[in-house]
Amino acid sequence: MKVTFNFGSFLSARSVMGDTMYELGQKHNNVWALTADTGGALKEFKNDFPDRYIDVGVAEQNLAGIAAGLALEGNIPFISGMIPFMTMRACEQNRTAICYQDLPVRFIGTGGGLTSGGGSTHNAMEDISIMKSMVNMTVLSIGDPNMVRDIMILSMTYPHPLYLRLAQGKKDRMLYEPGKYEYKIGMGLTARKGKDATIIAHGEMVFEALEAANTLAAEGIDVRVIDMYSIKPVDKDLACKAARETGNIVVLEDHLMEGGLASTLADVFVDAGVYPKKFKRLGIPQVYAGFGSGEEQRIKYGYDKTATAAAIKKMLK
């Protein structure tokens, strides 16, 4: 599979989400947009479908409950908002009101990892760990903004709760040509072929991984990059194949190193009896990070492209 990169262009994932909500709202009269005072991207939807738009103010627990009620009546509610409050403030409601009853509620969260710029109250470094632990919940992490639309459309026929993690959502890098790939829940995408090592990343970190791979290519090191956008269920075959074929695995994510994709993959490898020669996690250490941009913080905590390239070189020594 040849992947088209378009590193130069940015798009706001939040506006793609807003546009897609409008598109889905037109097509499906059971689609609702729900927000806890974060509906900035939903202007068209709320103008044209005011009776399917609910803003409850800053009350995320209540919002999750209302979403459950709507879904019980055959509606498909999309909750959008900031990740920490969507996944932590409303954690029990998500689990008990939504997942326990296996209701098709969609969560679209922005500000993944340390991209929020708001400090530790607004950082989202535990969300994947929390959401993936809930029975019936599906967890996806998306970097390329165009994927957001494809996944939202795909979600219309998906009968279970689904969490879509976005990066900051304001200025997101396009990686793939729109419409070229069919994304599927439970699948990953080989964004770059390679044989010496594999970087498995999700969300915005796929770009860092590709940059690291390009740097290493200049030094004769051939690195595979997997965009593991589906974290639960995860593409076990793709991960195991990479471990068998390249031996060295680096998991790169804007999430705590414990509990996220790295932990999922460690489980996958151990359970399958597929042991990478070397396995390295790059991500957020056990720390409440401070202020600064996502780019600055990932350099500080050692999970940017330079640190990734260095980690691979060390592995191959």
Binding site: I54, A59, G65, G69, L70, E92, Q101
Partner: protein
């Protein structure tokens, strides 16, 4: 005024239901939340046997009224009210309650027991879900109501007031909250630590239509349900029903020890006698 014949019919059902509750509690090898079951017995009879448009033979009818038991620990009380209406077999409830693979457990599960509208048990969550059902009905211009039974203790949860705020703001006139105001939590009386008063004013402040009633006076229950405003009302309605935890059983009434418990044979006999006596008294004083 409520039709006296209808009130007598419902009182008889409530009496039967109390005996069935005590019988189940006495035959179950474990604890039952009997205190709060007895406090909402009359209300559930009023709802399932008079106030709500429901049909046990058509549990998915789009026009049915919806009922959510936010105080999910009172599930057994709901099962029995529903069994008296023809949803379930009471003997099966008694035989299997709380057993492995039974559909009838301590907290109601929609997936295991069709007829239950929503799985509940985590306190304070019901009203928000009920608001979701009400939003959907309002948007589709459906004419049914959504009833949500809450315990007063669980209204200490913030989510209840978030939902109350939303329902008031969005004028969900099809949403009816019922509070089983027995003034007892699991381990304390109202006012001992937490003071919920002025309770009705709190709901009024959230733009709700408030109806206060005696939750053990079947005439008042029938009146309140008959006089609910239309679903197009500009405010949701809450029925604040003053009740007694353990109502009808002398040693349980207002006794902190009887939030939940198991009944010995001797206690069961005594409880049955109390309920018989209470019903006889109710009948003798009826106009």
């Amino acid at each position: 005024m409520a039709d006296p014949k209808e009130v007598r019919r419902l009182q008889k059902l409530a009496y039967e239901m109390r005996k069935k509750l005590i019988n189940l509690c006495g035959n179950y090898d474990g604890i039952v939340h009997i205190g709060g079951d007895l406090s909402m017995t009359d209300l559930l009879i009023g709802l399932y046997h008079h106030g709500m448009k429901v049909d046990p033979k058509d549990i998915k009818s789009p026009t049915r009224d919806r009922f959510l038991l936010s105080k999910g620990h009172g599930a057994v009380c709901m099962y029995i009210a529903m069994s008296l209406r023809g949803y379930f077999d009471y003997d099966e409830i008694v035989r299997t309650y709380g057993q492995l693979d039974s559909a009838y457990g301590m907290h109601p599960c929609k997936i295991q027991l069709p007829g239950v509208e929503c799985s509940t048990g985590s306190l304070g969550q019901g009203l928000a879900v009920a608001a979701g059902l009400a939003f959907s009905a309002k948007q589709k211009k459906e004419t049914h109501r959504v009833f949500c039974m809450m315990g007063d203790g669980e209204t200490c949860e913030g989510e209840v007031w978030e939902a109350a705020n939303t329902a008031g703001s969005y004028k969900l006139g099809n949403l009816i909250g019922i509070v089983d105001r027995n003034k007892q939590m699991m381990t304390s009386f109202d006012g001992e630590y937490m003071n919920l008063e002025p309770y009705a004013d709190k709901w009024r402040a959230f733009n709700w239509n408030v109806v206060e009633l005696d939750g053990h006076d079947m005439g008042q229950i029938v009146n309140a349900l008959d006089k609910l405003p239309p679903v197009t009302n500009k405010k949701p309605t809450v029925l604040i029903a003053s009740t007694v935890k353990g109502k009808g059983v002398s040693f349980m009434e207002k006794n902190i020890g009887w939030h939940a418990g198991a009944l010995s044979n001797e206690d069961m006999q005594k409880a049955m006698a109390d309920i018989e006596a209470g019903f006889a008294k109710e009948r003798s004083t009826a106009k």
